[in-house]
């Protein structure tokens, strides 16, 4: 199947501000390489999970994919068009097809808008549906899709009149009301109770499958990714270190960092405790270590890892960026 999204060698760098003193002594501006050469593609009806620690660049990747940030380099092919350089009207047109669900449903919905207004606004901005009646119908259909039934009961509610789970459903509906081709979800359940999470995860995976969208699901917790995504990419310090079918990665992670991330996943089992395979935290992306980025924390690091960045190698259905598999 032809992928909807094809990202190649995407880079997003942020430059820090220089103070007066630093500009006088002409010191180099330090650049935060949040995303530093990421490639993947997503076919219709499939979700890709992006997993990694805080600060690894997963949210930046997501926001760049829907063009909330402009990439520093690289391509984002969306339905065969490179959307990386788009601006103005073309960018807006692209955004109607690429939508995002944010982490915190308590902050991502306008508290002064009723559900109806929240969902109609995107339709008006993008000039979809010709009449008010049609828009209302689309809004009701979408509420049905996200399981807020009957829709009439929710149309006139304000966000504060709903529970966290219902709010997140409204946020998903707001993304879906435009019938996008790409749905990006950034830790959509981390603010929700465990008992409600299941419903949202099931909903997302069904919507992506049934509406034939390309999905990108972001989380630091592989056990959540497992319920939504067929493919998973493990990210570390701005690069994808391993990518492949989710179940394979969970069963047998290859990259030492994937192994560490998997070992840390919380378990509800009295006989198993999460193990810790890496100490400390990821280094600052301003000072990326030379050689393999992971080598200072890697238990299996070889001499070569210190000096030379590993190439991406194909191992079975998977690609791994590690000297151990070269």
């Amino acid at each position: 199947m032809e992928p909807i999204v094809k990202v190649s060698d995407l880079k997003v760098h942020f430059s820090g501000r220089r103070g007066l003193f630093q500009s006088l002594i002409r010191s180099e501006i330090k650049r935060v390489k949040a995303v530093d050469g990421v490639s993947f593609d997503i076919v219709p009806g499939e979700a890709l999970g992006l997993a990694g620690e805080s600060g690894c660049g997963k949210t930046t990747t997501a926001k760049t994919l829907v063009r909330l940030y402009k990439p520093t380099a690289g391509e984002i092919q969306f339905e065969r068009q490179n959307v990386a350089p788009l601006e103005g009207r073309e960018l807006r047109e692209f955004r109607s097809k690429a939508q995002m669900v944010f982490q915190d449903p308590y902050e991502s919905l306008n508290p002064r808008f009723k559900v109806k207004q929240i969902l109609i606004e995107p339709l008006e901005i993008h000039g979809l549906c010709s009449s008010y009646a049609e828009r209302t119908k689309r809004v009701k259909d979408t509420l049905n899709m996200v399981g807020l039934k009957p829709p009439e009961e929710f149309l006139d509610r304000f966000p504060h009149e709903m529970s966290g789970g219902q709010r997140q459903r409204v946020a998903i509906a707001r993304a879906l009301v435009l019938r996008p081709k790409l749905l990006v979800a950034d830790e959509p359940v981390s603010m929700l109770d465990v008992s409600i999470r299941a419903g949202i995860l099931n909903l997302l995976s069904e919507l992506i499958r049934d509406l034939k969208m390309a999905g990108l699901y972001i989380s630091h917790d592989l056990s959540l990714i497992r319920y939504v995504c067929q493919k998973t990419a493990i990210m570390y310090l701005g690069r994808i270190v391993e990518i492949g079918p989710t179940e394979e990665i969970i069963r047998e992670p290859r990259h030492p960092y994937s192994q560490a991330l998997l070992a840390a996943v919380p378990v509800v089992d009295l006989d198993v405790h999460s193990r810790i395979e890496v100490e400390g935290e990821a280094p600052n992306p301003i000072d990326v270590p030379p050689g393999c980025r992971f080598h200072p924390r890697c238990k299996k690091a070889l001499e070569i890892c210190r000096n030379e960045a590993p190439p991406m190698v194909r191992v079975g259905n998977r690609s791994v960026e590690c000297h151990l598999y070269v």
């Binding site: 465990v194 008992s195 299941a198 056990s223 497992r226 198993v272």
Partner: protein
């Protein structure tokens, strides 16, 4: 049996709100033995944090303790004047707050903040207090060189370690941990939980772990109390709760939890939302969401029954527990409930 450090009996806490009296905690009983950990688990708004905070009387102004007692080593904390309670804070009972990001004062160095807590509660010189901080930092795995850094110079996980160091500063007999890892990613979460376990074993203090995450409980606790709508639905030793859960709510919570092992089964959520605690429905509060409810459940509130040693359940259908356990594992059982 170990010495009981804290025992909470029939605790009732009410909030005065504009719409009426909200019974956030309504007759909760639990106890914590020396060097043991109790997990308080439940959904948002079930009263778990209110119950924990009431021990240190850290409740907002509109809250009042409407009944029951909180016995810390035999003294009833509900009757002590606030001045006395203040003396107990940090010294006897300390707290690890939920968001370390907001718990530290941004304009003081982390060292100063801990020294302040130490000096307020014990007669030591500044130098001795500083040495103590050095030792604590070492214990929680932060380089003592960073004592004079400000909170913004630390990452989220490091800040949480600082609050843990602070909670341990005066060797309290009880630590209240309010979702100490929810804001952290899995790797840091695993590191922090391991650290808490080790330190606690070394110091011998007891802990109350407040969380909605069953995995945190399974990693740290010896006993669990599952709370629902201000009441304890089920409580007991961790093995009983995890392997022989009886209450439909506990079974539902376990279903909803994602797992990395075995087959990727569909997750089953509990339909509906917790009841309004200002005008709660009569009978069992879980009834509107319970697939096993029968007539009596909507009339009479179930009493706590002991099913095995220390394992208590408040459910009318306890006689049919085997059947319920089997059915609770199936998705159809729960989807029958019309979410309200």
């Amino acid at each position: 049996m170990n010495e009981i450090i804290l025992s909470v009996k029939d605790l009732k806490i009410h909030y005065a709100t504009k719409r009426g009296l909200l019974k956030a905690v309504d007759g909760v009983t639990f106890s914590v033995a020396k060097s043991q950990n109790l997990g308080l688990v439940g959904e948002s708004g079930c009263g778990k944090t209110t119950a924990a905070k009431s021990i240190l009387r850290l409740l907002p102004k509109n809250a009042s303790i409407a009944g029951g007692e909180i016995l810390l080593k035999g003294h009833d904390l509900t009757k002590l004047p606030l001045e006395e309670i203040r003396r107990l804070r940090w010294q006897e009972v300390s707290m690890i707050p939920q968001s370390a990001m907001n718990a530290l004062d941004p304009v003081y160095t982390v060292g100063e903040q801990i020294v302040e807590a130490i000096k307020a509660h014990s007669h030591v010189t500044h130098k001795e207090a500083m040495e103590r901080v050095n030792y604590l930092f070492d214990l929680v795995g932060i380089s003592p060189k960073r004592i004079n850094d400000y909170p913004h110079q630390f990452s989220g996980g490091m800040k949480q370690r600082v609050t843990i160091a602070m909670a341990l500063a005066l060797n309290p007999s009880l630590i209240l941990a309010d979702e100490p890892t929810t804001a952290l990613d899995v790797i840091v979460q695993a590191q922090i939980l391991k650290r808490i376990r080790e330190l606690q074993e070394a110091i011998g203090s007891s802990m109350i772990m407040v969380t909605h995450d069953m995995s945190v409980i399974s990693e740290t606790c010896d006993h669990v109390a599952v709370m629902y709508a201000g009441k304890v639905a089920e409580s007991g030793p961790i093995k009983a709760i995890f392997e022989e859960a009886c209450h439909p709510y506990t079974l539902g919570l376990r279903n909803a939890f994602p797992s990395i092992f075995g087959e990727a089964k569909r997750l089953i959520s509990i339909p509906g939302t917790p009841p309004n605690l200002i005008s709660p429905p009569p009978g069992c509060l879980f009834r509107p969401r319970c697939p096993f409810a029968v007539e009596i459940c909507s009339v009479q509130e179930p009493a706590m029954v002991e099913v095995s040693l220390g394992h208590r359940v408040a459910c009318h259908r306890i006689d049919k527990v085997d059947e319920i356990r089997e059915m609770a594992a199936m998705e159809e059982t729960w989807s029958k409930i019309q979410a309200v």
